[in-house]
């Protein structure tokens, strides 16, 4: 492992150790936050007991669904928009300002229209992520050199074949930037809306535990979310590094 990686681990480890000391010494009282080793123990117990399995499955499946939709719709919309200049030009400024819109503001409206099921939460997470995917897909496709498009024509490739085998693979590293953002937004969208109003899920359970001073449930769930999002992001980063190294881009 590189020196930087060790420093990174040392920083995170140091913060955890500091929290541990502060908790054990009583500077942070038990009602505010249990010591880190207690949180890990509680998480272990929670997983073994299986009492949160329903909530975890609901959140993860909704997140995966929203992510899949954001990627599928975003990449296809990006590829189509790239070919439709007349449609893209008026939309570009909207994409640029899109993230100024607090998407969560639509959540109550979605509940009114679709009911208090999974759909409003998936929709919020999808809306948060899809534009990041579209923007990064467009960015990647904009960088495809003309000579590759000429090569595709010389090889007599169809437009669909050109997109799948030539332009999208070229745009791969840029797409990955959009994918990473979409993963983060999918988690934020689903868990955030569960916080606001829901009938289950990790966000709902955290909020419920918070209202009941149930630290033995709240903190392990927060840790669980941290582990899940760091793991997914870490895996994507490793993949990204490999892609970039192969192309001599780093």
């Amino acid at each position: 492992m590189s020196k930087v990686a060790w420093y990174r681990i040392a920083v995170v480890g140091g913060i955890v150790a500091l929290l541990e000391v502060l908790c054990l010494a009583g500077f942070i009282d038990k009602i505010t936050m249990p010591a880190p080793h207690i949180i890990v123990r509680d998480l272990f117990r929670m997983v073994v007991s299986g009492r949160m399995n329903g909530a975890i499955a609901k959140t993860l499946s909704n997140t995966a669904l929203a992510l899949g939709l954001a990627l599928g719709v975003g990449i296809i919309a990006g590829a189509l928009l790239h070919r439709a200049r007349a449609l893209r030009d008026p939309l570009d400024p909207l994409f640029a300002t899109y993230y100024a819109v607090p998407v969560f503001a639509f959540y109550p409206f979605f509940i009114v229209v679709f009911g208090l099921g999974d759909l409003p939460q998936v929709l919020i997470a999808f809306m948060l992520g899809v534009v990041a995917v579209i923007v990064n897909t467009l960015n990647g496709l904009d960088r495809v050199p003309t000579v590759l498009l000429k090569t595709a024509r010389i090889l007599r490739m169809s437009p669909a074949d050109t997109a799948l085998r030539m332009t999208l693979p070229f745009a791969g590293p840029y797409l990955l930037t959009g994918i990473k953002l979409a993963v983060a937004y999918a988690f934020i969208g689903v868990i955030g809306s569960e916080f606001i109003m829901s009938r289950g899920g990790i966000g709902y359970e955290i909020s419920f535990a918070y209202a009941n001073f149930d630290n033995a449930t709240m903190y392990p769930l927060i840790l669980l979310i941290l582990i899940a999002s760091v793991a997914v992001n870490g895996a994507l980063t490793v993949w990204e590094q490999r892609l970039l190294a192969r192309r001599g881009m780093r």
């Binding site: 000579v147 024509r153 090889l155 192969r246 192309r247």
Partner: protein, 263 residues
């Protein structure tokens, strides 16, 4: 020898600038490329050499005249049997060398073993056998250009168009690549059409050399070199080499002056 490519009265006018105004890029052009010959085109910069290549390759349709490849009209779509190597790096960064070369065979009906054999043969031909699993980013510019040449050769085209493929390479590498192109030309019996701005390169490689005028580009002279088919870069030592190159420059000098505004 029979004509493989025939251009009759071919012209191309682009709409360019703002507000759009017509720009007469090339034409009228009349000439033939004979089956199996090595034909080079030289011309001052901006005279429409690359446009001429794109017209023949079917990448852009002519605005006037007709282009025929093996008796069939070319109308803005690449005909089967033509391969192009461009000046810019067209290697596919996400595939290794083998993958790059096999890319051209993806849609062919050959069985897997035959495809593998062809890729292996072409790798050997361009001297990249030891780099089959390398990625383009790990190769030098000259090697990447050889990957593109190999990807074109593997499809066994009957006409190979080269658009200043050595433009980005240093002089020594260019001479050696010239040797390789001559060898490949002999071994594949394909017709080669080469665009270049280097007069010595054209003289060294070609059977016939077309000289283009300043824009709008026309063929104003066709020079026969009468080299033997068996030849390599050492041909530059022959006395005719100097006189042919001198004749090219004699025709081109006035045209080149025009392009820098001293016509």
């Amino acid at each position: 020898m029979t004509a493989q490519v025939r251009l009759e009265n071919v012209g191309k006018t682009f709409m360019t600038g703002r507000p759009p105004a017509p720009l007469h890029a090339v034409g009228p052009i009349d000439f033939e490329i004979r089956k199996g010959e090595f034909f080079a085109v030289v011309g001052p910069s901006g005279c429409g050499k690359s446009t001429l290549l794109e017209l023949i390759a079917g990448l852009t349709p002519p605005t006037e005249g007709t282009i025929e490849f093996e008796g069939t009209r070319v109308t803005g779509e690449a005909p089967e049997g033509i391969g192009v190597v461009f000046q810019e790096d067209a290697s596919l960064a996400w595939l290794d060398v083998e993958g790059n070369i096999a890319f051209g065979l993806r849609r062919s009906n050959l069985d897997a073993d035959e495809k593998k054999r062809r890729v292996r043969d072409v790798l050997k031909l361009v001297g990249l056998s030891d780099f089959a699993t390398s990625y383009p980013a790990q190769l030098s510019g000259g090697m990447r250009q050889r990957v593109c040449i190999a990807r074109t050769l593997v499809m066994q085209p009957r006409l190979i168009l080269l658009d200043e493929p050595f433009g980005a390479l240093d002089q020594q590498t260019r001479l050696l690549m010239g040797d390789e192109i001559l060898r490949l030309w002999r071994e594949t019996s394909a017709t080669v059409f080469l665009i270049t701005h280097a007069l010595d390169e054209a003289t060294m490689l070609a059977d016939r050399i077309g000289v283009m005028s300043a824009r709008p580009g026309r063929i104003i002279d066709v020079v026969e070199t009468n080299w033997p088919r068996e030849r390599d870069s050492r041909i530059v030592e022959r006395p005719e080499f100097g006189s042919i190159t001198a004749r090219l420059w004699h025709t081109l000098r006035a045209e080149s002056m025009k392009t820098i505004g001293r016509g």
